[in-house]
Symmetry: C2
Subunit: 126 residues, 2 copies
DNA sequence: AAAGTGTACTAAGCTGGGTAGTACAGTTGC
DNA sequence: GCAACTGTACTACCCAGCTTAGTACACTTT
């Protein structure tokens, strides 16, 4: 489901967060779909369950997943994420800031707006 | 010239890198314009010169600035950055990957493509 | 009752960011 | 030539954060 890069300087729990967030926002994980349990994912990735738990807890605080004690953790709907404290509008403003910085750098490297916009969709399947 | 956020979890040298890169790619720093010296910026920001040096060294490795021993450090031209080892095409591919992830999350939050494209330019002045 | 689930702690080790201090070589201006 | 500036290159140390290890509790499902 996920692969870790130990050469990457980013913390493991951050890589897990980004990977799961990516699957959720792209639709690879559908709303209300069950995520692997903390313990099973810890076994799969051969890391400590606490590390998974941290990623899950922060993703829940940001509104991307929700957890039910005794049952498991599930992907949230976008409309739920928007209503999360951590998310809207602070998160959205942060995303827009990063978007503008990315676009500025791509322009700096010589790309025009038409090329950038077409890059938003081309070859989405990795 | 720059402001640091000590509440931010991001390392100081990373904040300096991002701030200078932002000024360069947006044109706030013109090509061949001289940057503050490592020591003077260290005094201004009240931090250790080694931290500035690290930011400058990495920015130079990524092609955004160039340094001349004894003279100073200067903003590079975009055409130079593209020719840098670290930059093109690895850097560009990484930027495109991040762009697609950002757009996916903005769509997840309910924005359509027209809104996202218009956000690329509106209110650029912060 | 048993197994699996999320949740909540404490304790410890390790890596990396940041500081402090020093030193050397090249450039500029007097 | 000399002083003051510049970038560059080290070593050493402290500390916050990441990660692991271990344990425990409450809830759900079978």
């Amino acid at each position: 489901m996920l692969t870790l890069n130990y050469r990457d300087s980013r913390p493991i729990y951050g890589q897990i967060k980004d990977g799961l967030r990516r699957m959720i926002v792209t639709g690879a994980l559908e709303p209300d779909e069950k995520l692997p349990s903390i313990r099973s994912m810890a076994v799969d990735l051969a890391i400590n369950p606490n590390t998974i738990q941290r990623a899950y807890a922060e993703l829940e605080a940001e509104g991307f997943i929700y957890s039910v004690p005794g049952k498991g953790s599930f992907a949230a709907k976008g409309s739920d994420a928007v209503r999360c404290v951590e998310s809207d509008p602070v998160r959205q403003a942060e995303l827009i800031r990063r978007l503008r910085e990315l676009v500025a750098e791509l322009r700096y490297l010589g790309l025009n707006d038409g090329e950038i916009i077409s890059l938003m969709n081309e070859g989405v399947g990795q």
